[in-house]
């Protein structure tokens, strides 16, 4: 057992896979000598050398184009886009090229690549360095989308993403970088498309992602004191989506909530709620409720950002009010 922070788990997971597969390479801005601006790639240059761990210019299109071309010609790649907001700069290559080329060519080419990126708010970086954009990736056919909340999942899902033959967008949450946990010894490989029941409960189901998972768990502790038994599902991978775990939980509890960091419209929770509405309707005892960031850009001031993101208080109060009223929020 080793205790690792979330940020250390990133390098730990990558190193595990680079040792396994000598052809695996990575590229990105400041990832080599500097070890990444979030220190998520510390030590990789030393262990694997400059041919496999490459610094790039500030050229997001060139980075992802290089990843695409290498992957489609037999070299698996991990590409880092420093902040997920910057995906907008190279979204053509993600959404139009990488995601669609397998389909357009009827399966002639494959893209064994992972796009790692620091996602999410809570760190006072303002509107252009704090967004939660996992829903951008979720809505593009051809991509897989992963967003872990705990160090062990960072390692295991990183390994699964790297070994997956499809392109994976891997969202590392900025606000979780310092979170610590014990990691089991030996090789860790998880499975995409599997949610994790982070806390078992019988009265309500709350689906959360990334930094919203610890907040939801904290809210669940408080709800328990009020006699509300809360099941917390860490969705972990948006594509493929583990609807079985979600629907089974709703069948048990009869109530469904989502906690989403993304702005309101078209957040991933809307898709989950619609699936529950279509396929779990007769198990529901009340409306499904989405707890999200309002439909606004994120502000920089700490007090304002705290108001915007779903907080433990807001999660607790929303669920309490809904349960007490026997339905509506």
């Amino acid at each position: 057992m080793a205790e690792l922070t979330y940020r250390e788990a990133v390098a730990y997971g990558i190193a595990q896979e680079m040792r396994r597969d000598p052809s695996l390479v990575m590229l990105g801005e400041d990832i080599a000598a500097a070890g990444g601006v979030f220190k998520t790639t510390v030590g990789l240059l030393d262990e694997f050398g400059p041919e496999r761990v490459r610094d790039t210019p500030i050229s997001e299109q060139a980075i992802l184009g290089a990843a695409m071309g290498a992957a489609m010609t037999g070299v698996p790649v991990i590409a880092e886009i420093m902040f997920s907001d910057f995906l907008a700069v190279c979204w053509d290559i993600v959404a139009n090229e990488i995601a669609k080329s397998r389909y357009m060519t009827n399966g002639q080419v494959s893209f064994p690549l992972v796009i790692r990126t620091a996602n999410g708010g809570g760190v006072r970086f303002g509107a252009q360095h704090s967004q939660s954009v996992e829903n951008w990736a979720m809505m593009i056919p051809g991509l897989k989308v992963v967003a872990p909340s705990i160090p062990q999942d960072v390692v295991g899902l990183m390994a699964a993403s790297i070994r997956d033959p499809d392109p994976v967008v891997f969202f590392e949450h900025k606000a979780l970088m310092g979170a610590k946990a014990e990691i089991p010894d030996g090789e860790i490989v998880d499975e995409l498309g599997t949610a994790r029941v982070a806390r078992e409960g019988t009265d309500v189901t709350i689906a959360a992602l990334a930094s919203m998972v610890p907040r939801t768990l904290e809210a669940a502790e408080r709800l328990q004191l009020d006699g509300i038994s809360t099941e917390v599902i860490d969705v972990r991978t948006l594509v493929p989506l583990d609807t079985r775990t979600l629907l089974a939980s709703v069948e048990k509890t009869g109530r469904f909530f989502t906690v989403e960091e993304n702005p309101r419209l078209c957040g991933w929770g809307a898709e989950l709620v619609s699936i529950v509405a279509e396929e779990g309707f007769w198990n529901l005892d009340g409306p499904s409720i989405r707890i999200t960031t309002p439909h606004i850009p994120l502000p920089a001031a700490a007090s304002l950002e705290d108001l915007a993101l779903p907080s433990v208080d807001r999660i607790y109060e929303t669920v309490c009010k809904s349960v007490e009223s026997g339905g509506g929020a």
């Binding site: 060139a62 184009g65 053509d92 060519t105 499809d166 493929p240 989506l241």
Partner: protein
């Protein structure tokens, strides 16, 4: 009171001074190019021309839907490069990619069937005219949003270095691409990583419907930017297969031997419009006429005759190619509509499109 606007030659491009083709460099007849290579290029020119004309005809017959972007008039570029590349090299093209695909050995029947949206198309009907790909021939795709594929070509070149092969990666693109950011990102990275990437700008003088010079800061949209990336300025006659072939040979040799990337600007002209929707009326008629006189096929026909190739041999090549285009057309027309089940396949590597359990 009239407020009639006066549209002069600054805005009505057809009124501009025509930009005329360069004179033919007859000394290229003396260039050291094997005669059989030249005869092969003559055949390729006809294959590309025949395919393009047939695609045009099939569009008018409403058998090709959507749009097509033809290389009619520009075939010498794909031809000259095709003859300089090895089968294991990589090609990346734009939506105007039929010529480059065929020049790398894509089966013309499978290409034509793809234009017709048939099951026997090279992409099973899923890609269409703008996305011709044959990975088995190193033809790694035709990309319909300009710029990105230059970055992707770098990736294939990087991959070749990582795998220790001597493959080179060639990206073809138009003059319009030189004004998008990805062009500049790709050139910079290719140079600093010393990648075996060859960037080939087919400057046909128009970015879609607008003359390239009115929207570009330098006279030569690609060559004029080369110095900014530490590259040589290479400007060639893109309507002369020998000029293209020589430049291609040099660039391929440089890339293979570790000399890094090249940027080549080939001046050419498209006989028709940008796409099927475009009659090309924005071009001065005198200009269109002058470039028609500089069509690569008669030029090359005359050159081969001057080198002693018999007219009969050239005629028999033309006949063989014409037959092959007919065969390809029949193959395409005989194809079935794609199977309905194929709609949901090949989104992911497991062959399917499943996004949930």
């Amino acid at each position: 009171m009239s407020t009639e606007t006066h549209i002069d030659d600054r805005y009505d491009y057809a009124l501009r001074e025509p930009r005329l083709p360069p004179p033919i460099d007859h000394s290229l007849a003396e260039a050291s190019i094997d005669l059989e290579v030249r005869i092969g290029m003559y055949r390729t020119l006809h294959e590309l021309r025949g395919f393009g004309k047939r695609a045009h005809d099939l569009f008018l017959q409403n058998l090709v839907k959507g749009t097509t972007h033809l290389s009619l008039g520009q075939e010498a570029v794909a031809t000259g490069f095709g003859a300089a590349m090895q089968p294991h090299d990589y090609t990346f093209a734009t939506y105007r990619g039929h010529a480059h695909s065929l020049a790398r050995g894509m089966d013309p029947g499978a290409a034509m069937a793809e234009l017709l949206g048939r099951e026997n198309g090279i992409l099973g009907g899923k890609g269409g005219s703008m996305h011709l790909t044959d990975a088995s021939k190193g033809m790694m795709g035709s990309y319909a949003i300009i710029g990105a594929h230059l970055c992707t070509a770098n990736g294939a070149a990087w991959s070749a270095l990582m795998r220790g092969t001597d493959q080179v990666s060639v990206a073809f693109f138009g003059d319009g691409t030189t004004n998008i950011g990805a062009f500049h990102e790709a050139l910079n990275m290719a140079k600093v990583w010393n990648l075996p990437t060859i960037f080939v700008c087919e400057n046909n003088l128009y970015m879609e419907y607008t003359p390239i010079d009115v929207v570009t800061a330098v006279d030569h949209p690609a060559a004029g930017r080369a110095a900014a990336y530490g590259l040589d300025e290479i400007l060639i006659d893109g309507n002369d297969p020998d000029a293209v072939h020589l430049a291609a040979r040099d660039a391929v040799e440089r890339a293979r031997s570790g000399g890094g990337p090249s940027l080549i600007e080939a001046i050419t002209y498209r006989s028709g419009g940008h796409s099927r929707a475009d009659p090309g009326k924005y071009r001065p008629p005198e200009e269109v006429g002058a470039w028609a006189e500089r069509d690569p096929i008669p030029l090359y026909h005359a050159r081969l005759l001057s080198l002693g190739v018999e007219e009969e041999r050239l005629e028999s090549i033309q006949d063989e190619v014409a037959q092959a285009i007919d065969v390809a057309t029949e193959f395409a027309k005989a194809g079935a509509e794609p199977d309905e089940g194929s709609l949901m396949t090949e989104v992911y590597a497991d062959g399917g499109s499943r996004w949930r359990n």
